[in-house]
Point group: D2
Chain length 346, copies 4
Amino acid sequence: MTDETKLKAAVLGASGYTGAETVRLLANHPRVDAVAATGHSLAGKALSEIFPHLAGPTDLSVVKAEDVDWSNIDIAFGCLPHGTSQDLIETLPEHVRVVDLSADYRLRDADLYADTYGRPHLNPARTAQVKYGLSEWRGETLEGEMLVACPGCYPTASLLALLPVVSIIDRDSVIIDAKSGVSGAGRGLKEGNLFSEAAEGAHAYGVGQHRHAPEIEQELNLEAGRTDIGVTFTPHLLPMVRGELVTCHVRGDANQLQTALEAKYADAAFVTVLPMGAPPPDTKHVRGTNHCRIAVYPDRVSGRVVIIAVIDNLVKGSSGQAIQNLNLMMGWDETLGLAGLQALFP
Amino acid sequence: MTDETKLKAAVLGASGYTGAETVRLLANHPRVDAVAATGHSLAGKALSEIFPHLAGPTDLSVVKAEDVDWSNIDIAFGCLPHGTSQDLIETLPEHVRVVDLSADYRLRDADLYADTYGRPHLNPARTAQVKYGLSEWRGETLEGEMLVACPGCYPTASLLALLPVVSIIDRDSVIIDAKSGVSGAGRGLKEGNLFSEAAEGAHAYGVGQHRHAPEIEQELNLEAGRTDIGVTFTPHLLPMVRGELVTCHVRGDANQLQTALEAKYADAAFVTVLPMGAPPPDTKHVRGTNHCRIAVYPDRVSGRVVIIAVIDNLVKGSSGQAIQNLNLMMGWDETLGLAGLQALFP
Amino acid sequence: MTDETKLKAAVLGASGYTGAETVRLLANHPRVDAVAATGHSLAGKALSEIFPHLAGPTDLSVVKAEDVDWSNIDIAFGCLPHGTSQDLIETLPEHVRVVDLSADYRLRDADLYADTYGRPHLNPARTAQVKYGLSEWRGETLEGEMLVACPGCYPTASLLALLPVVSIIDRDSVIIDAKSGVSGAGRGLKEGNLFSEAAEGAHAYGVGQHRHAPEIEQELNLEAGRTDIGVTFTPHLLPMVRGELVTCHVRGDANQLQTALEAKYADAAFVTVLPMGAPPPDTKHVRGTNHCRIAVYPDRVSGRVVIIAVIDNLVKGSSGQAIQNLNLMMGWDETLGLAGLQALFP
Amino acid sequence: MTDETKLKAAVLGASGYTGAETVRLLANHPRVDAVAATGHSLAGKALSEIFPHLAGPTDLSVVKAEDVDWSNIDIAFGCLPHGTSQDLIETLPEHVRVVDLSADYRLRDADLYADTYGRPHLNPARTAQVKYGLSEWRGETLEGEMLVACPGCYPTASLLALLPVVSIIDRDSVIIDAKSGVSGAGRGLKEGNLFSEAAEGAHAYGVGQHRHAPEIEQELNLEAGRTDIGVTFTPHLLPMVRGELVTCHVRGDANQLQTALEAKYADAAFVTVLPMGAPPPDTKHVRGTNHCRIAVYPDRVSGRVVIIAVIDNLVKGSSGQAIQNLNLMMGWDETLGLAGLQALFP
């Protein structure tokens, strides 16, 4: 019972968490219908069998990508792992707009991509030109684009916090200590992601070598007009499902940073800069929403500043921002389908 | 910036979880505006200061009930503890419609109320006549009512599961083994509700004497036209925030029970009876929604049947059902403000 | 650096949770040394690489069972899945004592075993005679035994609560509503056991057909000298790692039941019957210990009684009881290696 | 039934978590008996009523401090909040040895104490001389001491990681991003520590102004023979009960740092330096133990290094280290009563 006035969307890789979340959010979008959900090993299953919570939002079943009638599809959300994502996206017909949630088109430099992700890029020329869909920063430029790369969850929170201040902090001072809920690790089966092992403990991972660092550096350098900004990026896994918190340790003037952040996001629908002195933002206060909350704190040690940002990794950190980007690509109000989301607290 | 075409609502006791949840849900209601939020010790504080997640949904501050201009209020949601609730509700002007989420008007028998809650009822005549707002059962009769008593969270799940079958099960067989997340205990400060003590453990409470048992018995007897149905009701506290699961152990014929449940809820917007043999419903599949999922299982032991129902205790178990009841009182579509809620999974 | 005065133990299947737990507990046993840990796919790895928390307790590496020098082994702990367990145990040399933690030797009736576990038993004559190692009940008879079957975690808690009263309750009234932490599901990789899916939700499973029901019935009937006792057994998965709680709904006289339980366990080292009226036991109060706590509650409905028991599923529910059984087989103090375990609270 | 050959200990403030933990751990100590547990509002209650998990380890009841027969007490563990702690400790008879777990005697500079904790110190001369009981660093000097100040939980982890390298890192580069479980907040009743609010979320607190920063600086400067080392210390609250993880961001040479750490702790009973390249330590791998695990990681950005340390905040971070300090004060093996503790995993 599709609505002919709506765009028809396919969700690529609907059996993962970002896929399921995209389907869920689209169900409340006034101008888009999810009409196809692709998958490989689970093809043939109803989405609501894999994810019972989708029983209300959708009656789609998983189909193989090769069985989709692409002539009927206006927009594809790429919710596949990197590598697999470009393999499919590069085969889609030209008329299909794509918002890719994977890492495949985020790095402009194909060599850096190959170094970081361990395989050559299928389409180096394209990745060099794809818009990086950090909505609040590239928003006005996305209209009309056919392919947009959604930022990673960590880069989203980190860049929203740092881009407005990158020119007024010591450029060699950026340390991002990041924390994420377990859903950020996806639905892949690993012992470390079992409840029994992830509950009641915390640990860092990918220390000194996480793949999101080059992505963050790319955008900071681009904004600052430099090439030498390097970030120390240290992610941690926390015993919670959703939520991402980045604690950015920098050198600068806290008041100046506060002012720059407030100026940048004064009219942002989804980014709130807390007043100086406010209690630190909690990931739970944005859980289930497309919002980012940012706060600035001067340290006891003169000249050091802590900037904290929180998001829901599956919404603003992936599926929500993907829809926000689609809205911008289409020239719509960027909040369509997202404005009604409220944080589930407690 | 209130909308004159909308009803104006006051939330009584907005500093507790059901109060905050009511404010949150009303923010998405197309025909109601929350214009007042009462509280005592926190009067003067912005709701968003107490509950930062409400920063988006509302800009209300807490006021004392005596400072509300009731002439401007159409509807009050009673989110106070029992006792305190009737004390305030009985003083409200006549024109104010009330949906009471407390236990104060649920028991028709004022003596039973006094026995159960340890104080005499202020208005025995009224409580004898107030409609018990289990929306799916009293729905058609609520239109025009000025005061409706919202069922407790446990009774909601238990009665949705048992009312359709109460006449076809052994009337002395009803055992309800119930499980709830910690938010059901409210925001009161008790050691047992601290994260450090509630996490990673489970225990029963109120065994053999919980206050929700008389409420469940009242409705089962009323529906069955009896007075002798007693239920063994044993609640447990689980280490999760939201969610309620009732496991009803009865004697009867599983197929007959399934048929009766399916028949009753065939057109229900918010109640789903899972097909026989489906995987047991999980509280997480309804978290954040006004839905109830019910499933029937025959036991290995002939003649014994297990009926399971899950709800979100703060939505269908309180604030969501309260809004559903308001919709019914007003003769509106019962799903107004609630249809867009989706389960937050994972 | 093994101690020649100690028994030498092999842990079969050391890469699962019960295997790891057995290794951990043995490290504090004064008369047993774990000298071999078998596994298949992880053979060659240090146990402390698989389970970093074992770095202190052991320096063993996983070896294939066929590479163990069994002439050097006095005792084997079977921590393998059912089926796999008997396949290995039936090949062990005669001198090796075995405590089997799997389900393979728990059911005396090989046909019932085949029905329940879906494969014929390798050694029907043996399973008919193996002692069922519910330590507090078969304790005195285990000395000298060469093979003991450790009860399942649910049967342990259920039978400790019900065996002392099985003759004084209505025999057709037994309903066991059980709750377990996720570690009870083992280390196998399933989506439902991922943190993201198991956290913040609860659900029943195996409703009406769980494999532990026949085991519970076998022992209840044996104790009561009957064959017709059937139990309704409904397990639930809770969002916690360790802990098991059984809520037994029966008909009888609460005081009589309390007396029978107190009499039975008056001198038990690891079972405590709480005084009538005590707050319900919490799984967290026995977490990490070999203890079981039991409490009896009369219901509002006359003649109905609730008996609650809590254990740590990985200790009293498996590895701890296995060591207790070994102590009994050897004629040692049953508390060796277990007495010092204390509950980790908070 | 006390053992005359054992020291007699009083636990001051036994109704909090560190008090309960001290009682629990002492129950396994071969040379100390806990014979008194003080408290104010809960005086008269059995400890096992307040903390049911202590039913096995102790049969003590809470008494008021003024009702203790101090002539019978050899050693007091101060488990009270700062301020309250010195108020009581300064009144104890001279023969009573004290291990104070509060902050009251950690800062040598009484003015800094007054600034940091908001009240003047009762005994400035004494606090200037009290030994700071970071066991691995002050161990050999504690023998014979009558009062030792146990470090805070964050300083313990931070200093174990940083003291061995403080002279070979840039002294103005120290950033400690710390994470703690909720038990670190104690048993005080605050909304933010309720399960419903702390679960499924994470946030920083005390940003730029936490009281543990001066304590860390004091010891780093002392070790380095400087006065100008300042640390940026940013603690976060994680949704877990126990566990503390500090992520130290410094500048230096990773290999040099690794070597220094390994050298320092080569013979340490309770500190393990993981080999370079090992997976990052998890708080759960030391949960319930007196161990600290430390790991060093070079960053992608040349010259930057991440040092991570994990402890159990209630054991090595408080009660366990307190007992370790007592052992050192008495000239005993420092592992008495602590060696048998094993991490509870999963």
